[in-house]
Protein backbone atom coordinates (compact mmCIF):
# COMPACT_ATOMS: atom_id res chain seq x y z
CA UNK A 1 0.00 0.00 0.00
CA UNK A 2 2.58 2.55 1.10
CA UNK A 3 6.30 2.12 0.65
CA UNK A 4 8.72 4.62 2.07
CA UNK A 5 12.26 4.08 0.83
CA UNK A 6 15.29 5.80 2.33
CA UNK A 7 13.39 9.02 2.78
CA UNK A 8 15.43 12.07 3.79
CA UNK A 9 14.73 15.75 4.01
CA UNK A 10 17.34 18.45 4.55
CA UNK A 11 16.69 22.10 5.20
CA UNK A 12 19.13 24.90 4.73
CA UNK A 13 19.12 27.18 7.69
CA UNK A 14 20.76 30.58 7.53
CA UNK A 15 23.18 30.94 10.41
CA UNK A 16 22.43 34.03 12.43
CA UNK A 17 25.18 35.74 14.34
CA UNK A 18 24.39 38.12 17.16
CA UNK A 19 24.45 41.87 16.89
CA UNK A 20 24.54 44.36 14.05
CA UNK A 21 27.88 43.08 12.82
CA UNK A 22 26.51 39.56 12.63
CA UNK A 23 23.43 40.73 10.80
CA UNK A 24 25.56 42.57 8.23
CA UNK A 25 27.79 39.56 7.79
CA UNK A 26 24.75 37.38 7.21
CA UNK A 27 23.53 39.83 4.59
CA UNK A 28 26.76 39.98 2.61
CA UNK A 29 27.98 36.42 2.94
CA UNK A 30 25.22 34.20 4.29
CA UNK A 31 26.38 31.02 5.94
CA UNK A 32 24.07 28.06 5.73
CA UNK A 33 23.72 25.14 8.02
CA UNK A 34 22.17 21.90 6.80
CA UNK A 35 19.44 20.60 9.07
CA UNK A 36 18.61 16.93 8.61
CA UNK A 37 14.93 16.97 9.50
CA UNK A 38 14.42 13.38 8.40
CA UNK A 39 17.18 10.85 7.84
CA UNK A 40 16.91 7.65 5.84
CA UNK A 41 13.45 6.47 6.86
CA UNK A 42 12.23 3.22 5.34
CA UNK A 43 9.06 1.34 6.19
CA UNK A 44 6.05 -0.34 4.65
CA UNK A 45 2.40 0.15 5.56
CA UNK A 46 -0.28 -2.36 4.59
CA UNK A 47 -3.81 -1.58 3.52
CA UNK A 48 -6.16 -1.14 6.47
CA UNK A 49 -3.52 -0.39 9.08
CA UNK A 50 -3.78 2.41 11.60
CA UNK A 51 -0.28 3.72 12.20
CA UNK A 52 0.64 6.30 14.81
CA UNK A 53 3.67 8.51 14.32
CA UNK A 54 4.95 9.79 17.62
CA UNK A 55 7.94 11.77 18.71
CA UNK A 56 8.72 15.04 20.46
CA UNK A 57 8.21 18.42 18.81
CA UNK A 58 10.62 18.94 15.96
CA UNK A 59 11.36 15.23 15.64
CA UNK A 60 10.43 15.14 11.97
CA UNK A 61 6.93 13.60 12.21
CA UNK A 62 5.21 16.37 10.31
CA UNK A 63 7.99 16.55 7.74
CA UNK A 64 7.61 12.82 7.12
CA UNK A 65 3.84 12.93 6.83
CA UNK A 66 4.09 15.94 4.52
CA UNK A 67 6.49 14.12 2.23
CA UNK A 68 4.18 11.10 2.28
CA UNK A 69 1.21 13.23 1.24
CA UNK A 70 3.05 15.02 -1.57
CA UNK A 71 3.42 18.42 0.08
CA UNK A 72 7.17 18.42 0.53
CA UNK A 73 9.68 17.21 -2.03
CA UNK A 74 12.07 14.71 -0.45
CA UNK A 75 15.77 15.52 -0.62
CA UNK A 76 16.40 11.84 -1.12
CA UNK A 77 14.35 8.67 -1.26
CA UNK A 78 10.83 8.07 -2.42
CA UNK A 79 7.27 7.49 -1.27
CA UNK A 80 5.17 5.03 -3.23
CA UNK A 81 1.44 4.87 -2.72
CA UNK A 82 -0.13 1.89 -4.47
CA UNK A 83 3.17 1.52 -6.30
CA UNK A 84 3.15 5.06 -7.70
CA UNK A 85 5.66 7.72 -6.74
CA UNK A 86 3.80 10.65 -5.20
CA UNK A 87 6.45 13.22 -6.06
CA UNK A 88 6.43 12.29 -9.75
CA UNK A 89 2.72 11.62 -10.23
CA UNK A 90 1.26 13.97 -7.66
CA UNK A 91 -2.02 14.69 -9.46
CA UNK A 92 -2.99 11.04 -9.90
CA UNK A 93 -1.68 9.75 -6.58
CA UNK A 94 -3.41 12.38 -4.44
CA UNK A 95 -6.78 11.12 -5.68
CA UNK A 96 -6.16 8.20 -3.32
CA UNK A 97 -5.31 10.21 -0.25
CA UNK A 98 -7.15 12.42 2.18
CA UNK A 99 -5.42 14.93 4.42
CA UNK A 100 -6.45 16.65 7.66
CA UNK A 101 -3.78 18.82 9.17
CA UNK A 102 -4.32 19.97 12.74
CA UNK A 103 -5.90 23.33 12.93
CA UNK A 104 -5.39 24.21 9.28
CA UNK A 105 -8.80 23.92 7.72
CA UNK A 106 -9.61 23.38 4.08
CA UNK A 107 -13.13 24.68 4.56
CA UNK A 108 -14.25 27.91 2.94
CA UNK A 109 -14.49 30.31 5.84
CA UNK A 110 -17.15 32.60 4.34
CA UNK A 111 -19.70 30.11 3.09
CA UNK A 112 -21.88 27.32 4.41
CA UNK A 113 -20.12 24.01 4.89
CA UNK A 114 -22.03 22.41 2.02
CA UNK A 115 -20.34 24.73 -0.50
CA UNK A 116 -16.89 23.36 0.31
CA UNK A 117 -18.26 19.83 -0.11
CA UNK A 118 -19.78 20.83 -3.44
CA UNK A 119 -16.43 22.22 -4.62
CA UNK A 120 -14.63 19.03 -3.60
CA UNK A 121 -17.26 17.02 -5.44
CA UNK A 122 -16.22 18.85 -8.62
CA UNK A 123 -12.47 18.79 -7.89
CA UNK A 124 -12.41 15.03 -7.33
CA UNK A 125 -15.14 14.32 -9.92
CA UNK A 126 -17.12 12.36 -7.36
CA UNK A 127 -20.04 10.34 -8.64
CA UNK A 128 -23.29 11.81 -7.19
CA UNK A 129 -24.40 8.42 -5.83
CA UNK A 130 -21.04 7.82 -4.12
CA UNK A 131 -21.15 11.38 -2.78
CA UNK A 132 -24.56 10.84 -1.17
CA UNK A 133 -23.45 7.50 0.22
CA UNK A 134 -20.33 8.95 1.80
CA UNK A 135 -22.30 11.83 3.24
CA UNK A 136 -24.76 9.31 4.71
CA UNK A 137 -21.91 7.33 6.32
CA UNK A 138 -20.33 10.51 7.67
CA UNK A 139 -23.68 11.60 9.03
CA UNK A 140 -23.89 8.33 10.88
CA UNK A 141 -20.45 8.77 12.43
CA UNK A 142 -20.19 12.53 12.92
CA UNK A 143 -23.73 13.87 12.51
CA UNK A 144 -22.52 16.09 9.72
CA UNK A 145 -25.88 16.81 8.09
CA UNK A 146 -27.02 19.16 10.81
CA UNK A 147 -23.91 21.26 10.17
CA UNK A 148 -24.08 21.34 6.41
CA UNK A 149 -25.98 24.62 6.13
CA UNK A 150 -24.01 26.41 8.81
CA UNK A 151 -21.46 29.04 7.72
CA UNK A 152 -18.00 27.78 8.63
CA UNK A 153 -17.02 31.03 10.37
CA UNK A 154 -19.78 30.43 12.93
CA UNK A 155 -18.60 26.93 13.81
CA UNK A 156 -16.79 25.80 16.92
CA UNK A 157 -13.39 24.14 16.53
CA UNK A 158 -14.98 20.75 17.15
CA UNK A 159 -17.57 21.31 14.45
CA UNK A 160 -14.91 22.52 12.01
CA UNK A 161 -12.86 19.41 12.60
CA UNK A 162 -15.93 17.32 11.83
CA UNK A 163 -16.34 19.32 8.65
CA UNK A 164 -12.70 18.83 7.71
CA UNK A 165 -12.85 15.09 8.40
CA UNK A 166 -15.90 14.73 6.19
CA UNK A 167 -14.28 16.88 3.50
CA UNK A 168 -11.23 14.65 3.51
CA UNK A 169 -13.33 11.50 3.08
CA UNK A 170 -15.70 12.66 0.32
CA UNK A 171 -13.62 11.20 -2.49
CA UNK A 172 -13.28 7.90 -0.58
CA UNK A 173 -9.48 7.97 -0.29
CA UNK A 174 -7.62 4.74 0.38
CA UNK A 175 -5.27 6.50 2.77
CA UNK A 176 -6.04 9.21 5.30
CA UNK A 177 -3.28 11.36 6.78
CA UNK A 178 -3.99 13.16 10.03
CA UNK A 179 -1.44 15.53 11.52
CA UNK A 180 -2.24 16.11 15.19
CA UNK A 181 -5.98 15.90 14.64
CA UNK A 182 -7.04 16.05 18.28
CA UNK A 183 -5.08 19.18 19.11
CA UNK A 184 -7.25 21.67 20.99
CA UNK A 185 -10.36 19.50 20.98
CA UNK A 186 -12.58 18.97 23.99
CA UNK A 187 -13.26 15.50 25.35
CA UNK A 188 -16.44 14.79 23.39
CA UNK A 189 -14.96 16.03 20.09
CA UNK A 190 -11.89 13.90 20.70
CA UNK A 191 -14.13 10.95 21.32
CA UNK A 192 -16.04 11.60 18.09
CA UNK A 193 -12.77 11.86 16.18
CA UNK A 194 -11.47 8.56 17.51
CA UNK A 195 -14.76 6.86 16.72
CA UNK A 196 -14.50 8.32 13.22
CA UNK A 197 -11.04 6.89 12.67
CA UNK A 198 -12.01 3.47 13.96
CA UNK A 199 -15.18 3.32 11.88
CA UNK A 200 -13.75 4.46 8.56
CA UNK A 201 -10.99 1.95 9.13
CA UNK A 202 -13.56 -0.78 9.72
CA UNK A 203 -16.26 0.18 7.22
CA UNK A 204 -14.12 1.45 4.37
CA UNK A 205 -10.81 -0.27 5.12
CA UNK A 206 -9.17 3.13 4.97
CA UNK A 207 -5.51 3.11 5.93
CA UNK A 208 -4.94 5.77 8.57
CA UNK A 209 -1.66 7.46 9.37
CA UNK A 210 -1.66 9.95 12.17
CA UNK A 211 0.75 11.95 14.25
CA UNK A 212 -0.25 12.80 17.75
CA UNK A 213 0.94 13.81 21.18
CA UNK A 214 -2.21 12.47 22.77
CA UNK A 215 -1.62 9.22 24.67
CA UNK A 216 -5.32 8.46 24.52
CA UNK A 217 -5.26 8.54 20.73
CA UNK A 218 -2.38 6.10 20.66
CA UNK A 219 -3.90 3.75 23.21
CA UNK A 220 -7.29 3.66 21.56
CA UNK A 221 -6.36 3.72 17.90
CA UNK A 222 -2.90 2.65 16.96
CA UNK A 223 -2.02 -0.97 16.62
CA UNK A 224 1.29 0.03 15.17
CA UNK A 225 3.60 2.78 16.31
CA UNK A 226 6.46 4.46 14.56
CA UNK A 227 8.54 6.48 16.97
CA UNK A 228 10.72 9.17 15.44
CA UNK A 229 13.28 11.36 17.16
CA UNK A 230 15.85 13.69 15.60
CA UNK A 231 14.59 12.61 12.19
CA UNK A 232 15.57 8.99 12.80
CA UNK A 233 13.32 6.03 13.36
CA UNK A 234 13.61 4.84 16.96
CA UNK A 235 10.93 2.15 17.03
CA UNK A 236 8.56 0.54 14.57
CA UNK A 237 6.24 -2.19 15.68
CA UNK A 238 3.08 -3.28 17.40
CA UNK A 239 2.19 -1.17 20.38
CA UNK A 240 2.18 -4.05 22.87
CA UNK A 241 5.43 -5.46 21.53
CA UNK A 242 7.14 -2.12 21.94
CA UNK A 243 5.75 -1.89 25.44
CA UNK A 244 6.96 -5.42 26.23
CA UNK A 245 10.41 -4.68 24.95
CA UNK A 246 11.01 -1.18 26.29
CA UNK A 247 9.16 -1.61 29.53
CA UNK A 248 8.66 -5.34 30.19
CA UNK A 249 7.34 -4.80 33.69
CA UNK A 250 4.12 -4.14 35.56
CA UNK A 251 3.58 -2.58 38.93
CA UNK A 252 1.50 -4.22 41.65
CA UNK A 253 0.02 -1.81 44.15
CA UNK A 254 -0.86 -3.44 47.46
CA UNK A 255 -2.69 -1.92 50.36
CA UNK A 256 -2.10 -3.55 53.75
CA UNK A 257 -3.84 -3.07 57.09
CA UNK A 258 -0.76 -1.45 58.62
CA UNK A 259 2.51 0.13 57.62
CA UNK A 260 4.51 -3.12 57.61
CA UNK A 261 5.07 -4.31 54.05
CA UNK A 262 6.88 -7.52 53.14
CA UNK A 263 9.51 -7.76 50.39
CA UNK A 264 9.61 -10.38 47.62
CA UNK A 265 12.77 -11.68 45.96
CA UNK A 266 11.35 -11.68 42.42
CA UNK A 267 10.32 -8.05 42.42
CA UNK A 268 11.47 -4.65 43.46
CA UNK A 269 9.61 -2.46 45.90
CA UNK A 270 9.58 0.93 44.21
CA UNK A 271 7.71 2.87 46.85
CA UNK A 272 6.22 2.40 50.26
CA UNK A 273 4.09 5.09 51.77
CA UNK A 274 1.82 4.47 54.69
CA UNK A 275 -0.17 1.28 54.13
CA UNK A 276 0.49 1.21 50.41
CA UNK A 277 3.46 -0.51 48.76
CA UNK A 278 4.31 -0.68 45.08
CA UNK A 279 6.11 -3.69 43.58
CA UNK A 280 7.59 -3.59 40.11
CA UNK A 281 7.96 -7.06 38.60
CA UNK A 282 9.11 -8.41 35.25
CA UNK A 283 6.43 -10.26 33.35
CA UNK A 284 8.82 -13.07 32.57
CA UNK A 285 9.84 -13.61 36.23
CA UNK A 286 6.47 -13.92 37.93
CA UNK A 287 2.78 -13.43 37.27
CA UNK A 288 0.67 -10.98 39.24
CA UNK A 289 -1.42 -13.81 40.66
CA UNK A 290 1.64 -15.63 42.01
CA UNK A 291 2.98 -12.44 43.50
CA UNK A 292 -0.30 -11.68 45.24
CA UNK A 293 -0.50 -15.23 46.56
CA UNK A 294 3.06 -15.08 47.88
CA UNK A 295 2.56 -11.70 49.54
CA UNK A 296 -0.75 -12.64 51.11
CA UNK A 297 0.94 -15.66 52.73
CA UNK A 298 3.24 -13.25 54.57
CA UNK A 299 0.71 -10.56 55.42
CA UNK A 300 -2.98 -9.93 55.15
CA UNK A 301 -3.83 -7.82 52.08
CA UNK A 302 -6.66 -5.32 52.00
CA UNK A 303 -6.67 -4.29 48.35
CA UNK A 304 -4.60 -4.70 45.15
CA UNK A 305 -4.38 -3.05 41.74
CA UNK A 306 -2.05 -3.50 38.79
CA UNK A 307 -0.45 -0.70 36.84
CA UNK A 308 0.64 -1.53 33.32
CA UNK A 309 3.74 0.19 32.05
CA UNK A 310 1.99 3.01 30.31
CA UNK A 311 2.56 4.46 26.92
CA UNK A 312 3.78 7.56 28.70
CA UNK A 313 6.63 5.48 30.13
CA UNK A 314 7.45 4.18 26.66
CA UNK A 315 7.46 7.66 25.23
CA UNK A 316 9.56 8.97 28.06
CA UNK A 317 12.11 6.20 27.54
CA UNK A 318 12.05 6.34 23.76
CA UNK A 319 12.32 10.14 23.61
CA UNK A 320 15.02 10.23 26.22
CA UNK A 321 17.34 7.87 24.39
Amino acid sequence: MIDVNHLSKDYLLKKKEPGLKGALKGLIRPQYEVIHAVRDLSFHIDEGEIVGFIGPNGAGKSTTIKMMSGILTPTEGSVLINGENITEHRKTVVRNIGVVFGQRSQLNWDLRLGETFELLKHIYEIDPVDYENTLEVMDGILGIKELIDKPVRQMSLGQRVKGDLTASMLHSPRVLFLDEPTIGLDVSSKFALRRFIREINEIRKTTVILTTHDLGDIKELCERLIIINHGVMMEDGKLNQIVDRIAPYKTLVVEYYDEQAPEHEKCEMTSHEGNIAKYRFMKKDITAAELIADLSKQKEIKDVSIEEAGIDDIIKIAYGS
Partner: protein, 275 residues
Amino acid sequence: MKRNVFRELRHYLDVTAQVIRMAVLTVFEYPSNIAGWLISNPLQFIMGFAIIKFVVESFGEINGWNYGQLAVLYGISVISHALSMIFFVQGWFMGYYVMDGDFDRYLTRPLGVLYQFFFTNINIFGITDLIPGILVFVYGCMKCGLQITWYFVIQVIVMLIGATLIRGGIYILLGSTSFHTRSAVDFGQYTQEIMDKTTMYPISMYPESMQFILTYLIPIGWVSFYPVSGLLGIENGVCNGFFVSFITLAAGILVMLLAGAYFTAGLKKYESAGN
Protein backbone atom coordinates in the same frame (compact mmCIF):
# COMPACT_ATOMS: atom_id res chain seq x y z
CA MET B 1 -5.35 5.38 -16.36
CA LYS B 2 -4.52 7.83 -19.15
CA ARG B 3 -6.75 10.87 -19.04
CA ASN B 4 -7.22 12.61 -22.32
CA VAL B 5 -6.82 16.33 -22.82
CA PHE B 6 -10.49 17.08 -23.48
CA ARG B 7 -11.62 15.34 -20.31
CA GLU B 8 -8.96 17.21 -18.40
CA LEU B 9 -10.10 20.53 -19.90
CA ARG B 10 -13.74 19.77 -19.10
CA HIS B 11 -12.74 18.95 -15.54
CA TYR B 12 -10.95 22.30 -15.13
CA LEU B 13 -13.88 24.22 -16.67
CA ASP B 14 -16.29 22.40 -14.39
CA VAL B 15 -14.25 23.32 -11.31
CA THR B 16 -13.88 26.90 -12.58
CA ALA B 17 -17.66 27.25 -12.88
CA GLN B 18 -18.06 26.02 -9.31
CA VAL B 19 -15.33 28.35 -8.06
CA ILE B 20 -16.95 31.36 -9.72
CA ARG B 21 -20.29 30.37 -8.22
CA MET B 22 -18.65 30.32 -4.77
CA ALA B 23 -16.96 33.66 -5.38
CA VAL B 24 -20.32 35.24 -6.26
CA LEU B 25 -21.90 33.70 -3.15
CA THR B 26 -19.06 35.16 -1.07
CA VAL B 27 -19.73 38.61 -2.52
CA PHE B 28 -23.35 38.38 -1.42
CA GLU B 29 -22.23 37.19 2.00
CA TYR B 30 -20.70 40.64 2.62
CA PRO B 31 -22.98 43.10 0.81
CA SER B 32 -21.52 46.18 2.47
CA ASN B 33 -18.20 45.58 0.68
CA ILE B 34 -19.86 45.76 -2.72
CA ALA B 35 -20.91 49.37 -2.32
CA GLY B 36 -17.42 50.37 -1.25
CA TRP B 37 -15.72 48.69 -4.18
CA LEU B 38 -18.30 49.91 -6.65
CA ILE B 39 -17.61 53.49 -5.63
CA SER B 40 -13.90 53.63 -4.82
CA ASN B 41 -12.46 51.50 -7.64
CA PRO B 42 -14.10 53.20 -10.62
CA LEU B 43 -13.52 56.59 -9.03
CA GLN B 44 -9.79 55.92 -8.81
CA PHE B 45 -9.53 55.40 -12.55
CA ILE B 46 -11.98 58.11 -13.56
CA MET B 47 -9.85 60.54 -11.52
CA GLY B 48 -6.72 59.21 -13.20
CA PHE B 49 -8.23 59.83 -16.57
CA ALA B 50 -9.39 63.30 -15.57
CA ILE B 51 -5.73 64.15 -14.92
CA ILE B 52 -4.75 63.02 -18.42
CA LYS B 53 -7.58 65.10 -19.87
CA PHE B 54 -6.30 68.12 -17.99
CA VAL B 55 -2.71 67.58 -19.15
CA VAL B 56 -3.69 67.07 -22.78
CA GLU B 57 -5.99 70.07 -22.79
CA SER B 58 -3.15 72.20 -21.41
CA PHE B 59 -0.42 70.93 -23.73
CA GLY B 60 -2.34 69.73 -26.77
CA GLU B 61 -0.91 66.23 -26.89
CA ILE B 62 1.57 63.88 -25.21
CA ASN B 63 4.42 62.85 -27.49
CA GLY B 64 2.35 62.83 -30.63
CA TRP B 65 -0.65 61.12 -29.02
CA ASN B 66 -3.82 63.17 -29.07
CA TYR B 67 -6.58 63.09 -26.50
CA GLY B 68 -8.71 60.37 -28.12
CA GLN B 69 -5.70 58.10 -28.74
CA LEU B 70 -4.56 58.52 -25.14
CA ALA B 71 -8.03 57.52 -23.99
CA VAL B 72 -7.80 54.28 -26.02
CA LEU B 73 -4.37 53.57 -24.52
CA TYR B 74 -5.62 54.33 -21.01
CA GLY B 75 -8.68 52.15 -21.59
CA ILE B 76 -6.64 49.13 -22.71
CA SER B 77 -4.32 49.63 -19.76
CA VAL B 78 -7.15 49.69 -17.23
CA ILE B 79 -9.07 46.81 -18.81
CA SER B 80 -6.00 44.57 -18.80
CA HIS B 81 -5.28 45.70 -15.25
CA ALA B 82 -8.83 44.74 -14.25
CA LEU B 83 -8.56 41.33 -15.92
CA SER B 84 -5.26 40.67 -14.17
CA MET B 85 -6.90 41.71 -10.90
CA ILE B 86 -9.70 39.20 -11.41
CA PHE B 87 -7.48 36.25 -12.28
CA PHE B 88 -3.99 36.94 -10.95
CA VAL B 89 -4.17 39.35 -8.02
CA GLN B 90 -3.25 36.54 -5.59
CA GLY B 91 0.25 36.65 -7.06
CA TRP B 92 0.80 39.83 -5.04
CA PHE B 93 0.23 37.90 -1.85
CA MET B 94 1.99 34.66 -2.80
CA GLY B 95 4.65 35.25 -0.15
CA TYR B 96 2.08 35.07 2.63
CA TYR B 97 0.72 31.80 1.26
CA VAL B 98 4.27 30.42 1.16
CA MET B 99 5.05 31.50 4.72
CA ASP B 100 1.73 30.30 6.13
CA GLY B 101 1.93 26.90 4.46
CA ASP B 102 -1.24 27.51 2.47
CA PHE B 103 0.08 25.61 -0.52
CA ASP B 104 -0.37 22.35 1.44
CA ARG B 105 -4.01 22.24 0.47
CA TYR B 106 -3.36 22.79 -3.24
CA LEU B 107 -0.63 20.17 -3.31
CA THR B 108 -2.90 17.47 -1.94
CA ARG B 109 -5.60 18.01 -4.57
CA PRO B 110 -5.58 16.49 -8.07
CA LEU B 111 -5.34 19.79 -9.96
CA GLY B 112 -2.52 22.10 -11.02
CA VAL B 113 -1.21 24.07 -8.04
CA LEU B 114 -0.97 27.38 -9.86
CA TYR B 115 -4.48 26.94 -11.25
CA GLN B 116 -5.88 26.32 -7.77
CA PHE B 117 -3.91 29.18 -6.27
CA PHE B 118 -5.41 31.69 -8.68
CA PHE B 119 -8.83 30.28 -9.38
CA THR B 120 -9.92 29.21 -5.92
CA ASN B 121 -9.14 32.80 -4.93
CA ILE B 122 -10.71 34.38 -7.97
CA ASN B 123 -11.41 38.05 -7.33
CA ILE B 124 -14.84 38.89 -8.66
CA PHE B 125 -14.47 42.46 -7.36
CA GLY B 126 -11.95 43.07 -10.14
CA ILE B 127 -15.01 43.68 -12.31
CA THR B 128 -15.38 47.06 -10.68
CA ASP B 129 -12.08 48.08 -12.35
CA LEU B 130 -13.34 46.76 -15.65
CA ILE B 131 -16.19 49.27 -15.86
CA PRO B 132 -14.15 52.52 -15.97
CA GLY B 133 -11.69 50.82 -18.32
CA ILE B 134 -14.37 49.94 -20.83
CA LEU B 135 -15.99 53.38 -20.49
CA VAL B 136 -12.76 55.24 -21.23
CA PHE B 137 -11.86 52.82 -24.05
CA VAL B 138 -15.22 53.24 -25.81
CA TYR B 139 -15.04 57.00 -25.30
CA GLY B 140 -11.55 57.07 -26.87
CA CYS B 141 -12.68 54.98 -29.83
CA MET B 142 -15.49 57.44 -30.47
CA LYS B 143 -13.15 60.42 -30.18
CA CYS B 144 -10.82 58.84 -32.75
CA GLY B 145 -13.75 57.99 -34.98
CA LEU B 146 -12.63 54.35 -35.24
CA GLN B 147 -14.46 51.89 -37.43
CA ILE B 148 -15.40 48.76 -35.55
CA THR B 149 -14.40 45.93 -37.89
CA TRP B 150 -13.63 42.26 -37.28
CA TYR B 151 -9.95 43.15 -37.62
CA PHE B 152 -10.32 45.67 -34.86
CA VAL B 153 -12.22 43.36 -32.52
CA ILE B 154 -9.72 40.52 -33.01
CA GLN B 155 -6.78 42.82 -32.32
CA VAL B 156 -8.37 44.16 -29.14
CA ILE B 157 -9.24 40.71 -27.79
CA VAL B 158 -5.83 39.26 -28.64
CA MET B 159 -3.94 42.19 -27.08
CA LEU B 160 -6.07 42.03 -23.93
CA ILE B 161 -5.37 38.33 -23.47
CA GLY B 162 -1.66 38.94 -24.08
CA ALA B 163 -1.55 41.97 -21.80
CA THR B 164 -3.32 40.11 -18.99
CA LEU B 165 -0.89 37.22 -19.32
CA ILE B 166 2.12 39.58 -19.22
CA ARG B 167 0.80 41.21 -16.05
CA GLY B 168 -0.12 37.88 -14.46
CA GLY B 169 3.24 36.39 -15.37
CA ILE B 170 5.05 39.28 -13.76
CA TYR B 171 3.00 38.87 -10.57
CA ILE B 172 3.87 35.17 -10.50
CA LEU B 173 7.57 35.83 -11.10
CA LEU B 174 7.70 38.37 -8.29
CA GLY B 175 5.58 36.26 -5.94
CA SER B 176 7.60 33.09 -6.57
CA THR B 177 10.75 34.73 -5.21
CA SER B 178 9.21 34.02 -1.78
CA PHE B 179 9.95 30.31 -2.18
CA HIS B 180 13.64 31.18 -2.32
CA THR B 181 13.85 34.13 0.06
CA ARG B 182 11.40 32.57 2.52
CA SER B 183 9.95 35.95 3.30
CA ALA B 184 6.66 37.56 2.47
CA VAL B 185 6.80 40.81 0.56
CA ASP B 186 3.69 42.48 -0.74
CA PHE B 187 4.73 43.43 -4.26
CA GLY B 188 1.29 44.79 -5.05
CA GLN B 189 1.94 48.45 -4.38
CA TYR B 190 5.19 48.62 -6.36
CA THR B 191 3.96 46.66 -9.35
CA GLN B 192 0.77 48.67 -9.47
CA GLU B 193 2.71 51.95 -9.42
CA ILE B 194 5.17 50.87 -12.11
CA MET B 195 2.51 49.31 -14.29
CA ASP B 196 0.28 52.37 -14.06
CA LYS B 197 3.07 54.73 -15.05
CA THR B 198 4.25 52.59 -17.94
CA THR B 199 1.00 51.37 -19.44
CA MET B 200 -1.33 54.35 -19.12
CA TYR B 201 0.94 56.72 -21.03
CA PRO B 202 2.99 56.29 -24.20
CA ILE B 203 6.39 54.93 -23.19
CA SER B 204 7.94 56.93 -26.05
CA MET B 205 7.93 59.85 -23.61
CA TYR B 206 10.57 58.10 -21.46
CA PRO B 207 14.35 58.11 -22.12
CA GLU B 208 15.55 55.63 -24.72
CA SER B 209 17.32 53.41 -22.21
CA MET B 210 14.07 52.96 -20.31
CA GLN B 211 12.18 52.28 -23.51
CA PHE B 212 14.71 49.58 -24.29
CA ILE B 213 14.18 47.95 -20.89
CA LEU B 214 10.41 48.14 -21.18
CA THR B 215 10.50 46.63 -24.66
CA TYR B 216 13.04 43.83 -24.43
CA LEU B 217 13.79 43.08 -20.77
CA ILE B 218 10.57 43.64 -18.87
CA PRO B 219 7.97 43.48 -21.63
CA ILE B 220 5.59 46.00 -20.11
CA GLY B 221 5.67 48.05 -23.33
CA TRP B 222 3.74 45.24 -24.98
CA VAL B 223 0.89 45.47 -22.47
CA SER B 224 -0.60 48.56 -24.05
CA PHE B 225 1.82 50.93 -25.83
CA TYR B 226 2.88 48.80 -28.81
CA PRO B 227 -0.39 47.02 -29.52
CA VAL B 228 -2.44 50.21 -29.18
CA SER B 229 -0.09 52.17 -31.43
CA GLY B 230 -0.44 49.29 -33.88
CA LEU B 231 -4.20 49.43 -33.55
CA LEU B 232 -4.30 53.19 -34.12
CA GLY B 233 -1.53 53.30 -36.70
CA ILE B 234 0.80 55.51 -34.67
CA GLU B 235 4.48 55.06 -35.56
CA ASN B 236 6.35 53.72 -32.49
CA GLY B 237 9.75 52.96 -34.01
CA VAL B 238 9.76 49.27 -33.11
CA CYS B 239 6.95 47.53 -34.90
CA ASN B 240 3.64 48.43 -36.43
CA GLY B 241 0.63 46.87 -38.01
CA PHE B 242 -2.07 44.31 -37.41
CA PHE B 243 0.30 41.72 -35.97
CA VAL B 244 1.56 43.76 -33.04
CA SER B 245 -1.29 42.47 -30.90
CA PHE B 246 -0.15 38.95 -31.68
CA ILE B 247 3.36 39.81 -30.52
CA THR B 248 1.73 40.96 -27.28
CA LEU B 249 0.02 37.57 -27.05
CA ALA B 250 3.29 35.77 -27.76
CA ALA B 251 5.06 37.88 -25.13
CA GLY B 252 2.26 37.05 -22.70
CA ILE B 253 2.58 33.32 -23.30
CA LEU B 254 6.38 33.53 -23.04
CA VAL B 255 6.27 35.42 -19.73
CA MET B 256 3.66 32.97 -18.41
CA LEU B 257 5.76 29.94 -19.38
CA LEU B 258 8.78 31.47 -17.74
CA ALA B 259 6.76 32.33 -14.65
CA GLY B 260 5.32 28.81 -14.55
CA ALA B 261 8.78 27.26 -14.69
CA TYR B 262 10.10 29.58 -12.00
CA PHE B 263 7.09 28.86 -9.83
CA THR B 264 7.46 25.09 -10.26
CA ALA B 265 11.14 25.29 -9.35
CA GLY B 266 10.17 27.32 -6.29
CA LEU B 267 7.48 24.87 -5.27
CA LYS B 268 10.12 22.12 -5.01
CA LYS B 269 11.74 24.24 -2.30
CA TYR B 270 8.43 24.81 -0.57
CA GLU B 271 8.77 24.10 3.12
CA SER B 272 5.20 24.30 4.34
CA ALA B 273 4.84 25.64 7.88
CA GLY B 274 4.97 24.05 11.29
CA ASN B 275 1.76 23.38 13.15
